[in-house]
């Protein structure tokens, strides 16, 4: 990466396709064995992550965002998780789904760092912050004890931890939520991974602290070229930080687009309805108006329809939608949609509709 002297400015959507793919998720399907049979939480999910970009994954609760990220990291319970036979998670030429537990340990932390949804549960309450960072460094570096302490404090400083030396020896409960999240970011970045997966990194935080964390992630991305996969259901966060966005619904990717296209020219009826249901602020304030809602419910894991999964809630639904599952169509590279009748005709051309 070339040096940039405007690191605080959020990088605006770059033509990401020109970059190098660092992670490629191909036809990922993830199922769980349950008492009621096999539950498929993620179906045929494909997307690429380019070097240095921030890719958002959005969608309502339960749509499979965390299962997707945990599948990439192989963090799901192995005994009852099944991946599709043609599913691949390619890091370079390696398919992570075929890695042994030992190989995955190399990948986690070294090549892919991860920040979880729950900052409190991701830290062990009985050990100091320093001890936990030390464990991560022991695992992934050959530094001696003294060097590890130096490095650990350096990392806390990198994430703008106030009084880093003192905090290093404190316990998680002595830190605020925002500080805990910084510790996790520091730990995830300790080996300068190529990829950072952040699952709702700011959901538990206040807006002012959220802004601090987002800025920190943007700066680190600009400085180190780490690609970020940002999972969130906050569309404001996506609008302000991501280059491209993957929208999921009921376990499938329904739309992938550059962030500006997605917000201003959504192609999938679900994306469009989702955007309309957010209250607007400032000049566009939706004071006292009824908000457009998406009536009905997401189909359960055991009652997925044969046709389009959004059909019951879609205002544009036609017979074809009930009969036939829409395939993924794409007019431009990096813009695709899973819908028989996309809203924005330019966004999609039916390429493999009959396939």
């Amino acid at each position: 990466m070339t040096d940039s002297d405007t690191p605080t400015q959020t990088p605006t959507a770059a033509p990401a396709t020109s970059g190098r793919v660092v992670l490629s998720v191909r036809n990922l399907s993830t199922s769980f064995r349950t008492d009621h049979g096999l539950a498929t939480a993620v179906t045929d999910v494909s997307f690429d992550l380019y070097a240095g970009e921030a890719l958002g994954i959005v969608g309502e609760s339960g749509c499979g965002k965390s299962v997707t990220s945990k599948s990439i990291m192989r963090l799901l319970p192995e005994h009852n998780t099944r991946y599709g036979s043609n599913s691949e998670v390619l890091l370079g030429s390696d398919n992570l789904l075929k890695h042994t537990a030992r190989q995955m340990q190399e990948v986690r932390g070294n090549r892919i760092g991860m920040i979880f949804q729950e900052p409190m549960t991701a830290l062990n309450p009985v050990f100091t912050i320093g001890w936990q960072i030390d464990e991560a460094l022991k695992l992934h570096t050959s530094l001696d004890r003294h060097q590890r302490r130096q490095k650990g404090i350096e990392m806390l400083k990198m994430v703008d931890m106030p009084s880093a030396e003192r905090r290093y020896d404190e316990y998680p409960h002595q830190l605020s939520g925002g500080m805990r999240q910084r510790v996790l970011i520091a730990m995830a970045l300790c080996c300068e991974p190529e990829i950072l997966i952040a699952d709702e990194p700011t959901t538990a935080l206040d807006v002012t602290i959220q802004a601090q964390i987002l800025k920190l992630m943007n700066e680190l991305r600009a400085r180190t070229g780490t690609a970020v996969l940002l999972i969130t259901h906050d569309l404001g966060v996506v609008a302000q930080t991501c280059d491209r966005v993957v929208v999921m619904y009921a376990g499938q990717v329904v739309e992938t687009a550059g962030v500006s296209d997605l917000f201003h020219r959504p192609a999938h009826p679900y994306t469009s309805a989702l955007l309309k249901s957010i209250p607007q602020s400032g000049a566009r304030r939706t004071k006292g108006e009824r908000l457009p809602t998406i009536d009905g419910l997401v189909p359960g894991l055991f009652e997925m329809p044969t046709g389009c999964r959004f059909a019951d809630r879609c205002e544009f639904c036609e017979q074809k939608c009930r009969d036939e599952q829409p395939g993924v169509t794409s007019a431009q590279p990096d813009r695709n949609v899973r819908c028989h009748f996309p809203l924005n005709p330019d966004a999609s051309r039916s390429t493999h509709e009959s396939a």
Binding site: T8, Q9, T10, T12, A13, E60, S61, P162, S176, G177, G178, M179, L205, D206, V207, T208, I209, Q210, A211, Q212, L214, K215, N218, H233, D234, L235, G236, V237, V238, A239, Q240, C242, V259, S260, L262, F263, H264, A273, L274, L275, S277, I278, P279, Q280, S281, G282, A283, R285, T286, K287, G288, E289, R290, L291, P292, T293, I294, L297
Partner: protein, 324 residues
């Protein structure tokens, strides 16, 4: 006359410790809060996590005894048991606030009988009416809480609060745990009910977009204190307190083409165990002056719609009155 008058309300929680388990300190969760709400108004209470929003709401309805200060509802002190029906509280967590062993119907019937809302023979039909009001089918009465989605559970919470025909509803983050699409449904529902029933609502939230959309007025809290009160009409134009302004600038706008520098409010919130003696915001305020560290500013009325507690706003230093 206002429906609700909160005067100099304080609530602190003792912290026990040491060998004898004596009170060693206290968490000053709500500090000297004064405001009033007119009948039919919807007032938002906004502020960071831990600033005392829930504690304020619970102290107002009498779920916590006040440490000092008063709350009047139509000139009656709210510690009076007669008022319990008039004011209802919807809890922050839609999951833990419902009894898992009672069906929706049993739960509503119990509340209705306890408060003697309708003659016993009409209980069932009133339960149906309530469920219909929050747009749950009447088969919902046979279902247990875990058989509902998050949004449906929140509707059930609303139905339970409305069962006793309250006049004031205090809703503590009623949509924070919900997806945006479900959030929109609940906000619409509350809006309809407000109109049909003439409800007065205190709406606690940390989501500025939601408060702006739903409320007439907002009260901004910081570290247990009210720092600003203003109309929601045009907050970007009207906000004066440095904290309120910081909130507005940290609020991520839903437009990727409108991307400024992310505004960063530096520093951490001080502990409510040991609030600073002067202005509560002083440790994070960019324009703090010496007097802010020692003298707490008081809430000053500006026009008839706004109150601000900030030295720089209410008595600007004459020499450098223009803000950097």
């Amino acid at each position: 006359m206002s429906l609700l008058e909160v005067r100099n309300l304080e609530k602190s929680f003792p912290i026990k410790g040491g060998l004898l388990n004596r009170t060693v300190a206290s968490v000053q969760a709500v500090r000297d809060v004064t405001f009033s709400v007119d009948s039919g108004e919807t007032v938002g209470i906004i502020g960071e996590s831990g600033c005392g929003k829930s504690t304020l709401g619970k102290t107002i309805v009498g779920l916590y005894p006040a440490t000092s200060g008063t709350v009047h509802f139509e000139d009656i002190l709210t510690s009076d048991a007669k008022l319990h029906r008039q004011m209802q509280f919807i809890f922050q967590d839609p999951y833990s606030s419902l009894n898992p062993r009672m069906t929706a119907g049993q739960m509503l019937s119990e509340v209705i009988r306890f408060h003697d809302i309708v003659p016993p023979a009409q209980t069932t039909s009133y339960v149906h009416e309530l469920l219909a009001m929050v747009q749950l089918g009447s088969d919902a009465q046979y279902r247990y809480p875990h058989e509902f989605s998050g949004g449906q559970r929140q509707r059930l919470n609303i139905a339970r609060a409305l069962a006793v025909k309250p006049r004031l509803l205090i809703a503590d983050e009623p949509v924070s745990a919900l997806d945006v699409s479900v959030q929109a449904q609940i906000l619409n529902l509350l809006m309809d009910l407000r109109e049909q029933l003439g409800l007065t609502i205190l709406f606690i939230s940390h989501d500025l977009k939601v408060v702006e959309h739903f409320c007439d007025r907002m009260i901004v809290m910081y570290l247990g204190k009210v720092v600003e009160q203003l109309s929601c009409e045009d907050i970007y134009r009207d906000a004066k307190h440095p904290y309120t302004k910081a909130l507005l600038k940290s609020n991520p706008i839903n437009d990727p083409d409108d991307r400024g520098d992310l505004f960063i409010l530096e520093g951490e919130v001080p502990s409510p165990r040991d609030p600073p003696p002067g202005c509560p915001f002083v440790s994070r305020c960019e324009i703090a002056e010496d007097r802010c560290r020692t003298n707490p500013p008081s809430l000053v009325q500006l026009g008839d719609q706004q109150q601000v507690s900030c030295w720089a706003v209410t008595s600007p230093a004459t020499a450098n009155a223009s803000e950097g």
